[in-house]
Symmetry: C2
Subunit: 337 residues, 2 copies
Amino acid sequence: MSVKIRDLAKQLNLSVATISKALKDSHEISPETKQRVFELAKKLSYIPNPYASSLRKRNSKTIAVVLPEVADSFFSLAINGIESVAHDKGYHVLIYLTHESFEREEAILKEFKSGRVDGILMSVSGETCNSNHIKEVIAAGMPLVFFDRVCDDVDTAKIVTDDFESSYKATSYLIRKGCKKIIYLSASPALSINIKRMEGYKKAIADHAIKNTEVEIISCYGDVEANYKIIKDLLTKKNKPDGIIASVEKLTTPVYIACKDLELTIPNDLKLICFTNLQTALILDPPLTTITQPAFEMGKTAATILFKGIEKKSFDLSKERVVLPSVLAERLSTGNC
Amino acid sequence: MSVKIRDLAKQLNLSVATISKALKDSHEISPETKQRVFELAKKLSYIPNPYASSLRKRNSKTIAVVLPEVADSFFSLAINGIESVAHDKGYHVLIYLTHESFEREEAILKEFKSGRVDGILMSVSGETCNSNHIKEVIAAGMPLVFFDRVCDDVDTAKIVTDDFESSYKATSYLIRKGCKKIIYLSASPALSINIKRMEGYKKAIADHAIKNTEVEIISCYGDVEANYKIIKDLLTKKNKPDGIIASVEKLTTPVYIACKDLELTIPNDLKLICFTNLQTALILDPPLTTITQPAFEMGKTAATILFKGIEKKSFDLSKERVVLPSVLAERLSTGNC
DNA sequence: TTTATTTACGAAACCGTTTTCGCAGAATAC
DNA sequence: GTATTCTGCGAAAACGGTTTCGTAAATAAA
């Protein structure tokens, strides 16, 4: 159907070897011949078969991005960052969604041993309990870099934000704003980001040593409905919180709605800070104080580092760890600012 | 490095042909032999090289998704829908971003003639002025289905929402709510969805024939800053609108902010309806009346139809056209409801 | 002039599967 | 007992590039 090297060779009375070399501008081929080859290739709009060349060259010019989901605005932005550098490098990007399932993540990673991709960008699922599948694919020689949600016990590049610090800052901020009982709404408990953010929260509470202030962590990692119910229950208790740190974006809406339903006003009855990248934070009712991650940048630097690992086999990914700062944007949900 | 068919063959004293057939459970191979092959394959964790088999079988088990961007929540959801059916079918999904650039779209489509993918899912860029690149790839035998943003002059499957009707409904709704001067905020003018939505708007204005009500369309297809300025200017004019239809999600925030800056209150001074899939619409200040598209469903059915086209060469994609209904959710931004 | 090197190209192996044949031997039909 | 059909398997040719190696002619070095 399509035109192949063989066709070019026949028309020009040259061998396929010559065509192949000419097309990659090899020094072995004379300028005149190259010229002729280029012209005919253009005229016939020759496009090389990527799988033939992948098979022979043992690379694929494609990377994989494995994510829990693209519901979150963080991952949307990260994908843009990743794609931008992949495009510059002439790479293709395959996308895989784990839906927070460990089995699915295992199956996806396993397939990568086939050589389908040259490298992997990954944010682990919330149910990832062990990391053997990841270690195995790395051991098989596959460059892999984590971004955002990492596995601490896997020795490879990690691009993260300052989760501990920003959570510490957020908690301290709520304390300064007068909160006496601050609750941390937890995402999947085993998640690296969740652990770091939780620790930042705990440390801040401990450091400020407010009387009667206890650390309290509520798990919210079911569906929207379940989370809504948990939050509503929380806010109807006798000694309900006066401050909330929501550790992931999807917890924002349930908190707002629960407050509205219970006729609690933010920030008077409850002050709220969320980890989120939503553009609409500043037009919420009231505008939401957020910790936003440099999502696009994270995707970009993760991809950049991955390509270093791909292009130079000697590049040691395990030495790479970059921490990008999140920014705390103060808005009305934590009181007037 | 990795284990190949040849390795299995040697260890079992069989030919590679036999192994290959056994692995795909061919009737040519005896049950006992199959058993032995399966066991060894599992033991050595054999994973076939996808590119070798793609080369030979002339298919790739992968589809391409080409989008303007993943900033929009619509596309995020659509990707989830696409991935869910691709996963079920055992296909891989490559993602390409045009960044609303025609040249980039052309380059991406052109590469697909190489056979890298078995099919294409696509939402055209806002700057796509002609469709030759699309027609060419289809003419080359590649199944392609449009979703959301389509090219009317390209004869292939299209999955869209009822853009005309929902825009008509939205406009009528604003009129019923008492708006006298309704403005349509336009995205890229050539976009199919924009044209349909614009026509629905115009028709509603015409049908209701309110005195002095003129059709007025404002182009907003620059960056956020530019759009903000345009909207702010619009709202400072002497005869400013009392109703706005924002045709795309990204126009929501600038309108809200402009209103806040100008101390105009929604819905008293201005009623607003947006085409958006944002979850946060209902916790905005005030809650936003929206037209939401069934994004996940659209991705899903687009992919489902694409696979029909891929699996049965005889399946005529050009006959396929499905229109999924958007839903108008009435909230406070258009007055009490 | 002879020898060494460079230049420009082609033959053929190779990447790892899939698939078409071909072919023994066993089973069944006549 | 011969003819036919299965059964189960292997040899080898694809698929479409890339890469190694060889080589003839042209050029440079001696």
